[in-house]
């Protein structure tokens, strides 16, 4: 083996998954994935917020399966990191009662180039929607008991596009 065939030392991929009731700060999370690294050329982030659905909702309440949520999301995140050759990936999902305008979910994907960062974030979000054990319940502004949010066919289709592409 010659020195030329030795690949450059690869920095470890940083995969962080947190399930928490508290809020997150997107700048802090991006900073944690980029500080001290010179191999990150692209950062794509997605933040999901609570909507009031035309003034109808006072909050969304997120229930989760504590044991499984972190494990399921970590498995998906590690798959995304490998598949898109990311340099780092952070996924945070909140639980509990969240008022309109509040943060629910954050995905930050870092890579050397932009397409990988975009794809990594989109892939993880599509899997979040269908495979992460979280459920949303509506709380109504008029005080009435809200409904559980129904799963959408569109979310299953969004996930399926990653399967057909690979």
């Amino acid at each position: 083996m010659t020195a030329d065939s030795t690949p450059p030392a690869k920095r470890p991929v940083q995969v962080t998954v947190r399930i928490q009731s508290s809020d997150f700060d997107i700048s802090d999370e991006i900073g944690a994935l980029t500080a001290g690294r010179a191999d990150v050329g692209a950062v794509a982030s997605f933040t999901g917020l609570c909507r009031d659905e035309g003034g109808r909702l006072s909050a969304l309440e997120l229930e989760h399966y504590p044991g499984m949520a972190e494990r399921a999301i970590r498995a998906i995140a590690e798959e995304a990191a490998e598949r898109f050759e990311l340099t780092g990936l952070t996924a945070i999902h909140r639980y509990g009662k969240i008022a309109p305008g509040g943060n629910i979910v954050l995905v930050v994907a870092c890579a050397s180039h932009r397409q990988a960062a975009f794809d990594g974030a989109a892939f993880l979000m599509d899997y979040f929607k269908t495979d992460a054990p979280f459920w949303k319940k509506e709380h109504l502004k008029d005080g009435g008991a809200g409904e559980w949010v129904s799963a959408k066919d569109a979310d299953d289709k969004a996930k399926a596009r990653w399967r057909s592409r690979s």
Binding site: G48, L62, E63, H64, Y65, G67, M68, R71, A72, H93, I104, V105, M125, F128, K129, T130, D131, A132, P133, F134, W135, K136, K137, W148, V149, S150, A151, D155
Partner: protein, 85 residues
Amino acid sequence: MSLKVVYFAWVRERIGKGSEELELPESVVTVGDLIAHLATLGEEYAAAFEVPQVIRAAIDEEHAGHDEAIGNAREIALFPPMTGG
């Protein structure tokens, strides 16, 4: 066979509890068998499992289909389609 079964979202609300330890008859082999068995345990269970095909399951915290065998699982979770993100 004794098994911990946990419920989430409207499955939990309809049954009226988040988890329970159950003794299962020998005839219960798969996740689908478990759902069919639970549906016979009373009105609240019948309501939760009214449309069995929409129910999602996890065996020991891993997603599982209705035809999967329960085997020596410690915990089975039953819940509606997920709506996170």
